[in-house]
């Protein structure tokens, strides 16, 4: 299976982040076409037909989301780009910003036009110092050419883009926490409804989209929705390609763009070169740390949203985390739950208390003080978080717990019972036998 490159094709072009290079490769033609010859509704229709899905995590059809913005509202409308990229195992947006910032900016222009926004924000994680600088430079370049600001491309359409840097909270990647943070408030997710499309930034209709999602838009407009949709074959409700961030025990970790009918096995073994040291594969998390884990024998699944859901997991943010046979699942899950407990905003009871409690149970077991019933309790606590919280972070914490513990229960029981890792013990037994 070959990679199909829509965005990453430009990654190897020298100075692809510069506006002149970008334009030489056909950049800023799609927005010209949109401004000259398309109505906002036509743009939205085109994006709907492309089967582009949100690549930030939730996978919501992008065109449909844009269509939710009320046309008759007197309020200003906003486009907000989610560049918070906080999901562990995910690092694709950084590559997009560093290599092709103008693809994002052009996508933002088209999206803003489609929803009627004249102000767009890029909310970028605070740690992304270089990407933020790169965006600033790109915005300055675009401004200098009259592509941003008043009357862009010589039309009467105005668009200002502002960068807002986050302060280091994972929860600020959740779109409503992001909006609160953007407004200068504490990054607490909002109750839904209302959804951002009707009440978003500054009480106004707002579309929040991921960096990568928007970066595809110029290519969809330029080459047509049908072309994009057909890149993924046989995937009914998703089209195009997406960039997978592959990390963990593979030979060639990195970003790989591929259509959504690609299987997880192809990503791990073909693109990333298989397992380091040619060890056996143990498990893969297919879409960032909050997605349920798949065992080695479950990776012949296509990476489209629906197939992964059918397999009991999620496409998420495309962060593929690969674990070889020497990975301790208890340690891995303990690490993950530490992350979610640390990042829980603390607003709602099940997530705040549940994650905090789980951490202490995992730490206790790690200290060799496991007790009978611990594994059942862990499962039940996770189930008591599931589906009962304000935002999906609760689920994001619970799902890995439930999947790890159910799929690798023996390992957890061993830790509880013996206060040590089965893997270590096994290695010792092997050493002693030889």
């Amino acid at each position: 299976m070959p990679q199909v490159k829509v965005l990453t094709e430009f990654f190897d072009v020298p100075d692809s982040h510069k506006i002149d290079v970008w334009e030489k490769h056909g950049g800023y033609q799609a927005i010209r076409k949109v401004l000259k010859s398309m109505t906002p509704d036509e743009v939205i229709e085109e994006v709907k037909r492309s089967k582009l899905r949100g690549l930030g995590g939730a996978g919501f059809p992008t065109g449909v989301k844009w269509g939710f913005v009320p046309k008759d509202s007197e309020k200003p409308k906003y486009l907000v780009v989610n560049a918070d990229e906080g999901e562990p195992g995910t690092f694709k947006d950084r590559h997009v910003i560093m290599n092709i910032p103008h693809s994002l900016l052009e996508g933002m222009m088209i999206a803003s036009y489609a929803i009627g926004a004249h102000v767009a924000y890029i909310y970028i994680r605070g740690e992304y110092v270089h990407p933020a600088r790169r965006l600033e430079e790109a915005i300055a370049e675009a401004k200098a050419k009259g592509y941003l600001g008043k009357g862009i491309f010589g039309t009467d359409y105005d668009l200002e883009v502002y960068i807002h840097r986050g302060a280091g909270a994972y929860i600020c990647g959740e779109e409503t926490a992001l909006l609160n943070s953007l407004e200068g408030k504490k990054g607490w997710p909002r109750l839904k409804p209302p959804f951002p499309a009707t009440v978003g930034a500054f009480q106004s209709p707002t579309v929040v989209n991921n960096v990568e999602t928007l970066s595809y838009v110029p290519h969809i407009i330029a080459r047509g929705a049908d072309w994009f949709a057909s890149l993924s074959e046989g995937t009914e409700r998703c089209g195009g390609t997406r960039i997978f961030s592959v990390s963990g025990h593979v030979k060639r970790p990195g970003v790989y763009e591929a259509p959504l009918h690609t299987t997880l096995r192809e990503i791990v073994y073909d693109f990333a070169g298989g397992i380091r040291g040619d060890k056996k594969l143990k498990a893969v998390i297919p879409g960032g740390s909050s997605c349920p884990v798949l065992k080695a024998d479950e990776i012949d699944v296509r990476m489209c949203f629906d197939d992964l859901a059918k397999a009991g997991t999620m496409a998420g943010s495309g962060g593929v985390i690969v674990m070889d046979e020497d990975t301790c699942m208890f340690d891995t899950l303990r690490n993950i739950i530490h992350f979610y407990a640390h990042e829980s905003c603390g607003q709602c009871t099940p997530c705040r208390q549940g994650t905090g409690w789980l951490v202490r149970i995992f730490d206790r077991i790690a200290e060799g003080r496991g007790m009978p019933g611990d594994v059942d309790n862990i499962l039940e606590i996770a189930q008591n978080i599931m589906g009962r919280t304000i935002c999906p972070l609760g689920d994001a914490a619970a799902m890995p717990v439930i999947s790890f513990v159910t799929k690798f229960r023996e390992e957890f029981e061993y830790h509880v019972r013996e206060g040590r890792c089965d893997l270590e013990d096994r290695k010792q037994r092997v050493a002693m036998a030889s």
Binding site: A169, I171, K186, L191, A341, H342, E343, S344, C345, G346, Q347, C348, T349, P350, R352, Q353, G354, T355, G356, W357, R360, I361, R364, M371, G373, N377, N384, G387, R388, T389, I390
Partner: protein, 542 residues
């Protein structure tokens, strides 16, 4: 109007009503922590989860609008389990220090644990330590460990007082409620309400904490006499354990919900302003001055003396007598007093006392007029018609030699704008009778002092600044030998051989409503009906 079914029972509600309120209408209480009807919905505690047919997940009833045809179940196995889970979560980091917690008995962790919890603890881990017993305001102590982070207090300071002193800091289970940096203490005048709305023992009232356990308390419905708003209150009194609360019969006062007057709130001045009722300076016995020496009297002797003084004075001419009633007296007392003194021929009957400094006022509840019944006195057409201060008019008349006898009801003139003149003029008068609750500079110099009951020791009505006549009930017996205003007026009437005055407030009000048009019709009447007071019965009879 959406009509929905909750636990098999049908109910219709106003559009926009949430499921939690709709259930309330059916008498079904859905347990909740963060929801408060007067605050914006936070939807964060997750205690109010219910099952709604057609929705796969449990829904929070505080943030789910009732919809036509909705079928809600509040007590299924799934719901009960979810509640239990939330309680278990909340108690993971709770210190369980109920034996030394002042909230015990009215804590919603205790209440809901008994109703919906009753699980066996699975916690084998240490609890998180946070700050305890931290004074955050003149009236409030914060215990962060007991806090369940429902954010009611934070929303109160944002939405009600708009003073923004409180926030939730940090993240996850390290979150704490605290004052914003740079704010050393709560700055609003309504902080007592924080102790009321905090569903647990995290915010307690410095005036009330450790005074008595709440289960020793009984409640009387009352009206705050602190200003002309007339906030509806509940007087918590303790008469079964006299040694509690340092001997105070009234350890606390709390607001009583009345959407038309005070909502759920009351101000701190009103809440903590009641302490004079159990103070050591209460006047407990009638007393006269004999050549400057105090001599205590029995009531019969006191009535005889009062009657003698008044008869002597009116013999010289009824216009030589001035009466200063008080806008702190009830409508019934004012009415009976007006009747009694009018029948003696007295026409100088005032009530307006101008304070030294104008009272504080805001646009939430607090009114500048610190009297509960100015409007009532006005509707009874009392006053000397001389502008703001009846005290000034009386002093003018006294200085001019037109008045030489005054009867003062419960107004300390040394606190009025006329303090200096009163101090000079009163001692020169022939006769001064003081009827009041507590000793003060004015009472000290009176020839005769009659001890009067306070508002918690009697019943009656006040008319608030909008003309709303509000009834209050008695909590405790008058202290010492003090008597209600009506009782004192009744005794005087008998001693003077005048038409008898009823000691029964309800009877007096009936007569008042019959005779004073303002109380019979118009705003006063309408409002009285809406708050369920005496006139309803009267109207019913008609």
């Amino acid at each position: 109007m959406p009509t929905l079914k909750i636990d098999g029972k049908e109910v219709w509600v106003e559009p926009g009503t949430n499921v939690l309120e709709a259930a309330k209408k059916l008498g079904i209480e859905i347990p909740h922590y963060c929801y408060h009807p007067a605050l914006k919905v936070a939807g964060s505690c997750r205690m109010c989860l219910v099952e709604i047919e057609g929705m796969p997940k449990l829904q929070i009833s505080c943030h789910t609008k009732a919809a036509d045809g909705m079928v809600v179940w509040t007590n299924t196995e799934k719901v009960r389990k979810a509640r239990q889970a939330v309680l278990e979560f909340l108690l993971v980091d709770h210190p369980l220090d109920c034996p030394v917690c002042d909230q015990a008995g009215e804590c919603y962790l205790q209440i809901y644990y008994m109703e919906h919890g009753l699980y066996k603890s699975r916690l084998r881990e240490n609890k998180i330590k946070k700050e305890k017993a931290k004074p955050i305001g003149k009236h409030i102590i914060l215990d962060q460990e007991r806090c369940i982070l429902c954010s009611r207090c934070v929303r109160f300071t944002r939405e009600v007082t708009k003073t923004f002193e409180l926030g939730i800091f940090n993240r996850g289970n390290r979150s704490v409620v605290d004052l914003y940096p740079g704010i050393s203490e709560l700055q609003n005048r309504y902080q007592g309400n924080l102790a009321d709305i905090c569903p647990v023992g995290a915010l307690t009232d410095r005036n009330f904490r450790f005074q008595t356990r709440v289960w020793y308390l009984q409640q009387a419905k009352s009206i705050c006499p602190g200003c002309s708003r007339g906030c509806n209150i509940e007087v918590d009194y303790n008469i079964s354990r006299e040694y509690k609360a340092g001997g105070r019969r009234i350890p606390r006062i709390r607001p009583r919900h009345n959407p038309k007057v005070n909502g759920y709130w009351m101000c701190d001045d009103g809440r903590y302003g009641y302490k004079y009722v159990d103070a050591l300076d209460r006047i407990l016995l009638p007393r006269r001055l004999d050549e400057g020496e105090p001599v205590e009297l029995s009531w019969p002797a006191a009535y005889t003396m009062a009657a003698d003084l008044l008869s002597e004075a009116t013999k010289e001419g009824a216009d030589k007598v001035g009466v200063l009633l008080s806008a702190k007296m009830t409508n019934e007392e004012l009415f009976a007093a007006r009747k009694l003194f009018s029948s003696l021929g007295v026409s100088r009957i005032g009530f307006r006392v101008e304070p030294k400094e104008p009272g504080y006022e805001d646009d939430l509840l607090i009114k500048a007029d610190k009297n509960p019944n100015t409007k009532g006195a006005e509707l009874l057409e009392l006053g000397l018609g001389a502008g703001k201060s009846d005290v000034s008019a009386l002093l003018d008349a006294a200085e001019a030699g037109e008045v030489d006898t005054v009867v003062i009801f419960n107004e300390d003139l040394s606190k009025s704008s006329e303090a200096e003149r009163a101090e000079a003029v009163l001692p020169k008068l022939g006769r001064v009778i003081y009827v009041g609750t507590n000793w003060n500079a004015t009472a000290a110099k009176a020839d005769l002092v009659l001890p009067m009951a306070t508002f918690v020791e009697q019943e009656g009505t006040f008319t608030n600044f909008e003309g709303r006549v509000q009834r209050f009930w008695k909590a405790v017996e008058p202290l010492g030998e003090s008597r209600t205003g009506l009782s004192i007026l009744a005794g005087l009437a008998t001693a003077l051989g005048l038409e008898p005055v009823s000691e029964n407030a309800e009877e007096v009000f009936a007569e008042l409503a019959e005779q004073v048009p303002a109380f019979f019709r118009g705003s006063a009447t309408r409002n009285l009906v809406s708050t369920g007071n005496w006139l309803r019965a009267r109207l019913g009879r008609r």
